[in-house]
Symmetry: C2
Subunit: 201 residues, 2 copies
Amino acid sequence: MIRLLLAEDQGMMRGALALLLGMEHDIEVVAQVGRGDEIVDAALVARPDVALLDIELPGRSGLDAAADLRDEVPDCKVLILTTFGRPGYLRRAMEAGAAGFLVKDGPVEDLAEAVRQVLRGETVIDPALAAAALSAGPNPLTGRERDALAASVDGATIADIAASLHLSESTVRNYLSSAIGKTGTRNRMEAVRAARRQGWL
Amino acid sequence: MIRLLLAEDQGMMRGALALLLGMEHDIEVVAQVGRGDEIVDAALVARPDVALLDIELPGRSGLDAAADLRDEVPDCKVLILTTFGRPGYLRRAMEAGAAGFLVKDGPVEDLAEAVRQVLRGETVIDPALAAAALSAGPNPLTGRERDALAASVDGATIADIAASLHLSESTVRNYLSSAIGKTGTRNRMEAVRAARRQGWL
DNA sequence: CGGCACCCGGGACATTTGTCACGGCCAGGT
DNA sequence: ACCTGGCCGTGACAAATGTCCCGGGTGCCG
């Protein structure tokens, strides 16, 4: 019996997946969580063989949680399941020690099979996505550029960002300008979108 | 036997829902589509009793499709299923003649029951959401304000928006300024976010 | 040690954005 | 006939944003 942990914030999706996977004769869903910061605790209790993690979760990113699991529950294989096949996500997932990366398009039938594959030690990745991730290259943004960009997603002004990062306004402007240049865009909003699309957030 | 049409763009979600609903003894999924502009055609062929529609679909919004169905397949009840419980969405769904409005949080078990309820002629709406929709009041934005705001979502400049709407730059500025005022925000980006959160897009 | 990249900041400048006051046009309702 | 509200535009102005150039500090690597 494969013991499975399921982390997904959308209640209906989580319930549906749990039911479907539970119907497989060799899979047992031993834990379900709706928040990223509950993953490690649940895994320590339930001792799953495989963790199926969404990326965009409240509390803690599924990618961060994957890294945590590698350290604290190393026997547990991690399978990332996400809406967006962003190259940067795939890259980060691999760096966090994930054994597989699936997007929520594509048929449900693949899911159970993917679980079995990672448990056999295989790595499962959509080939087209892998190619995109390689051709895209690594994240060119420095840490602070990323911070500044991330702090500006919800329409914050330079002053807001400077305050939240404890920086001077001049510094923030420089970081943003640099990020805009590196993304090849014309303003903050475009830069944010471009960075998000690449999974650089 | 309840004949059901399912419109949902995320392949995995669509497949999971189809399987789950198909397992109900009194429900039969007679059509599945992944695009909004395929809904009416599919309904004309499959003649479903209930259409379960996501809102954010490629091609055509599920809300628009709901209005189309009311005209072209009036016997078909419409049940909206969406990720975001925005007040404006609920309002528009009701105006489009929807018989129910569900959010993708909350348990899967409710789903089949909601289908049966709308078929009995009942209206199913989350009570908390209904309250929010009423307290929020109607959309205060005029048509052109909405257009200008919608055209600025992906970081377009004033010049871009003016070109895409065939307007003068001054006019666009005035609309945006007005929209910013009505949303009580400080700039375009915040206004877009606020309008989206309300379902005013 | 000398580069190099990242971090942090200042100053000056052009451009963009947001605001305000003001026109005119047209449709609707009183 | 008048008023109201949406639509479209202009001009002027202050504020925010983006760019460029400059400085200094740190730590890492060859």
